[in-house]
């Protein structure tokens, strides 16, 4: 029977070992990237699975989120007599925050879990070992293309989310609520800075892309090669990457928008 202190010590050591292994995998991913990018057809295939297949959920969610922002914004701004600023409110909320963050969360749920499950099942079916025995590095052949696919897809998906959201907001505001379309667009253009707002939003979505994709790949690669192991790994992917995205969002927002 181990004492409590020994338990804690063992737990800490295991945690550190996990972090070390994760860092090594990340290093291996980066090291394998140049060769993986040269075989761009693999990245393109992953872009299809991660990007195209996520377009529908991202688009529909963006539409609804943008419309809700417009509705709520209109209700709130009425008290201050600034109803025309609702376009600006919607655009800034989407471009700075909701676009990158919600897209990352949805991406983790849809693409992240499928990545984890796929890699986990490949591990369970000894496909990764078979690859190693065939002198093919699975990090380079399987993991790196998926990493870059996710990294490239995320900013594009976030942009689609924000754009569709703004259009959804327009649909609610102009035809439905009768706000002047000219004021809608001019207020927005006057307040949304391309580098500070749109640019920072793109940077955020890149950071989130790295985070979510890496967590998904790591969980799949390191999971126990059994059905229970794979299922636990997919759950962990969603939980870990969601928490990481939200924490990083806070830090990035503090850094970017505090001036």
């Amino acid at each position: 029977m181990m004492s409590f202190a020994a338990h804690v010590g063992l737990g800490v050591r295991r945690l550190l070992a996990d972090w070390g292994a994760s860092a090594r995998l990340f290093g291996a991913l980066l090291a394998a990237s140049p060769r993986a990018l040269m075989r761009f057809v693999l990245v393109r295939e992953q872009l299809f699975y991660l990007g195209n297949r996520s377009l529908l959920i991202i688009g529909v969610s963006g539409l609804f989120v943008g419309s809700v922002l417009a509705l709520q914004g209109d209700y709130a701004l009425q008290r201050y007599g600034s109803r025309e600023a609702v376009g600006l409110l919607t655009a800034l909320s989407l471009v700075r925050e909701l676009g990158p963050v919600v897209t990352a969360l949805l991406f983790a749920g849809r693409a992240g879990t499928s990545l984890t499950a796929e890699i986990g099942l490949m591990k369970a079916g000894e496909q990764l070992t078979a690859m190693e025995m065939m002198a093919v590095d699975p990090v380079q052949r399987v993991l790196a293309p998926r990493f870059w696919g996710g990294l490239i897809a995320m900013p594009l998906l976030a942009a689609v989310f924000s754009a569709v959201g703004i259009m959804g907001g327009w649909l609610v505001d102009v035809p439905l609520l009768g706000i002047d379309p000219g004021a809608f667009w001019s207020q927005m253009q006057g307040g949304v800075d391309v580098f500070k707002d749109v640019g920072n939003g793109v940077i955020k979505s890149l950071v989130f892309g790295v985070t979510v994709t890496f967590v998904a790949l790591l969980q799949g690669y390191a999971c126990r090669p059994t059905p229970e192991g794979v299922s636990a790994a997919t759950t962990r992917t969603v939980v870990l990457s969601s928490l990481a995205v939200l924490a990083l969002d806070f830090m990035l927002t503090a850094m970017m928008f505090s001036i």
Binding site: M122, G125, E126, Q127, E132
Partner: protein, 283 residues
């Protein structure tokens, strides 16, 4: 067995001229933490031979295969492939060695997102710059050797277990390796597929000048096709020789194993309390 095209015509006598063994395990000890799997194991295999590794479950047979591919490192001892110690090799050198080996995993380990053709073409595409037309020809020849040229466009999910294993065999020999490792190639196969698989392993070994190591529980089929048999139990090689020698061995453990007897050195009853205690028998 239908005739197939041999890719290399090597007279059998050439293989015997090479006296150095292709693979050698010297004084190998392997384990995790407190568990010792193999202790002081010595094994040699000449080129062109088929070696069968038999033994109790968890006795260390698959560990030997893993050591040969350096998927596992020994605690002490040396693993030699073609006279070269595997331990000091860096990753590139290790990959060069692995290209001379083919491995057949227990259930095939085919890539589920690729078709049968693409699976067999995989090693060729990854390691060679051959033009597509040549790759096509090579893949079809390998598939023909295992009798599955007609299944080339099917997905692994669409073929039976026996067929999947044959495809995996075609993939394992795609680069014309020197050594092929078979991890339980006969597990779960119906009698026909079993016979086919065994014949394929032996015929390919002879026609292509391969060296093969088979880990299996199927004593009947394995003894038919093996040149040598090594029995691994309790972390050591307890018996080594031709199949006939093992069939007529005096060692009680070997006799129990080969004769499939329920009780012997490997006890039937798990150690437990006396019968009287558990069933309340007083007399």
């Amino acid at each position: 067995m239908a005739p197939f095209l041999p890719l290399r015509l090597r007279p059998a006598c050439v293989n015997q001229l090479a006296t150095a063994p292709l693979i050698e395990l010297r004084n190998i000890s392997v384990g995790y933490g407190d568990r010792v799997i193999l202790d002081g194991v010595n094994l040699k295999l000449q080129r062109g031979k088929v070696l069968a590794l038999i033994g109790t479950s968890g006795g260390g047979k698959t560990t030997v295969l893993r050591l040969l591919g350096r998927q596992l490192r020994p605690l002490s001892g040396q693993v030699l492939f073609d006279g070269q110690d595997l331990a000091p090799l860096n990753l590139d050198a290790l990959y060069t060695v692995r290209r001379r080996m083919g491995m057949l995993f227990q259930f095939g380990a085919l890539f589920t997102d690729l078709s049968v053709f693409e699976n067999v073409a995989f090693p060729l595409r990854e390691h060679t710059d051959l033009p597509e037309a040549m790759i096509r020809d090579l893949v079809l020849m390998k598939l023909n050797a295992v009798g599955l040229r007609g299944a080339r466009d099917l997905l692994p999910s669409e073929i039976s277990g026996g067929m999947a294993r044959r495809v995996a065999l075609a993939r394992a020999i795609a680069l014309d390796p020197d050594l092929v490792l078979y991890d339980e190639p006969f597990a779960g196969l119906d009698p026909i597929s079993l016979g086919v698989a065994a014949r394929l392993i032996r015929d390919l070994n002879d026609a292509l000048g391969l060296t093969s190591i088979i880990v299996s529980h199927d004593l009947h089929e394995t003894f038919e096709i093996a040149d040598e048999v090594a029995m691994v139990a309790n972390g050591r090689v307890v018996a080594q020789g031709t199949p006939d020698e093992l069939r007529h061995s005096d060692d009680p453990l070997v006799r129990q194993f080969v004769g499939a007897e329920a009780d012997g050195p490997v006890r039937f009853h798990q150690p437990a309390r006396p019968v009287a205690e558990d069933f309340g028998v007083t007399r």
